[in-house]
Symmetry: C2
Subunit: 120 residues, 2 copies
DNA sequence: GTATGATATCGAGGATTTACGATGAAATGC
DNA sequence: GCATTTCATCGTAAATCCTCGATATCATAC
């Protein structure tokens, strides 16, 4: 993969995080982790139709991207790093609507707020 | 890539969109498109250190994922499909904070709202 | 009709990812 | 000590991705 040198640090990081989330198994891991708050590797191996070594590698990818983290007292127990998800959401928001029209729900509201008009 | 059959449609789509965004060149295209509202292919070729055919393929990937769209009166002019970005943000929000504690800024506020506590 | 310009698609290479089984490491229980 | 359990890492094969040049398409201009 060629390096795009005009890229900001933020864009670079976004690409890395998006890439890590861009796999069905890893999305599943993330949603499972969100549901359960914290999981051992074995819990996730049970949920996924993949070999233990494969799940372990997916976890590594997610960890390197900063999406998951953690070990509770030395136990290999994973959980979501919500700061990264928030950062990603914020990135999307800023890219999509730099003027600040609003792109995502927050608090109680569930409906996405209307954003700047599309040019096409 | 093995198919994960427990996956919901939503998770499947999220993985596809994340995957499409998970490449530095494509992130650059998206941010450029957001800045300019609409671009011809040639504009993007100028910005990126890639061959025209390569840029065209990246555009195809983004288009297939529903991230970009459009042709103004037959001209091959692209622009962001903000609905997809909003959908993605909404997905992140729901995964991260199913209880609705808030994960993203909306409207004027720029600081991410505090989310449910991490388990790790 | 023919050239020009802009874009998409094809085909091929090299790199990366995904998946697996086998092996290593570290803690727990006998 | 030795077996067991749990997880990470290694090595490797197959699939996919990224990139390019070459070629096809499709307007517009002459």
């Amino acid at each position: 993969m060629k390096t795009i040198d005009g890229l900001t640090e933020e864009e670079e990081r976004a690409a890395t995080v998006f890439r890590a989330l861009g796999n069905p198994a890893r999305v599943r891991i993330v949603t499972e982790l969100a549901k359960r708050q914290a999981c051992y590797t074995g819990d996730l191996v049970e949920v996924l139709p993949l070999a233990q070594s494969t799940v372990s590698q997916h976890l590594k990818v997610l960890k390197e991207a900063g999406i998951i983290s953690g070990a509770i007292e030395g136990n290999p127990c994973y959980c979501l790093d919500e700061r990264t998800i928030r950062w990603l959401v914020d990135f999307c928001y800023r890219v999509c609507c730099p003027a600040g029209e609003g792109v995502a729900p927050a608090g109680g509201g569930r409906e996405p707020v209307e954003c700047g008009a599309s040019a096409c």
